[in-house]
Symmetry: C2
Subunit: 167 residues, 2 copies
Amino acid sequence: MTRWRSEVRESDAAAVRRLVADTAFFNEEEIDIAVELVEETLQCGEAAGYAFVFADDDTGEADELLAYTCYGPIPATRSSYDLYWIAVAPSCQGQGLGAAILRESERRAREAGAAQMFVDTSGREQYRPTRAFYERMGYEQAAVLRDFFAPGDDKVVYVRQLADTTR
Amino acid sequence: MTRWRSEVRESDAAAVRRLVADTAFFNEEEIDIAVELVEETLQCGEAAGYAFVFADDDTGEADELLAYTCYGPIPATRSSYDLYWIAVAPSCQGQGLGAAILRESERRAREAGAAQMFVDTSGREQYRPTRAFYERMGYEQAAVLRDFFAPGDDKVVYVRQLADTTR
């Protein structure tokens, strides 16, 4: 049974840096961005526009961050949210923790008023498991922006409806 | 003959607020965002990530801002740019100033390394002339994100290739 934590602690900046780097999936610039979102939230609170779900390992001697998500309302939209980050420690992958923390994040976003959750990812081969993960989780491909990140590196936008919208 | 100006002056915050409000096209929140981009640039310079093209009327007694664009590199992309703002004073609309300032902005973006220019707009009826403008200017619809801004208010993403990319 995983306990979720949403409040951000000073120690999370370093913990997120370690976790995101440990996945060996993100470059330096991306890792810096992940940490900045934590730091902005420590400084500005909710006004920063980011919410978090942290999964701590409290079974061991020291608290260790096993997974986290960062999401928030998209400015200038009524009820669209973006999943900015999701990362699971390599030692915990393949055990459903990613699915569980994503569902928990969606539940909290919906409670906060989210009607749909967007997530941007890459069309590169390296991201095939990532795209398959979102598809298993009920996300649909909403757009492909060719060569968005770089030549040959498309942006793929996924979306999942979290609540009924009438139009 | 229009002279373009790219350096941002202190007076541009108020001038952009007036211009954008005069178009009667944007809400208060949007107007505030337009002004914030000017203010961030006054404070941080290029590091803010925004570039501008201003069209001043220097024929009259006082300088007046007739049109402007705001654009810049999209973070974490190699050569994708976003057109954040384009506005033309109501008294100058229908005379090709929008087309001219957009082309000038594209030219400067390309010089700065842009391979493609993205622009987000709305699928609402009010934005039909906006979408037609981008299509006339050679922009192609790259994505439609349903209900993105609000129920019934889609985000429509346009893109124009500014340089050859090989993939």
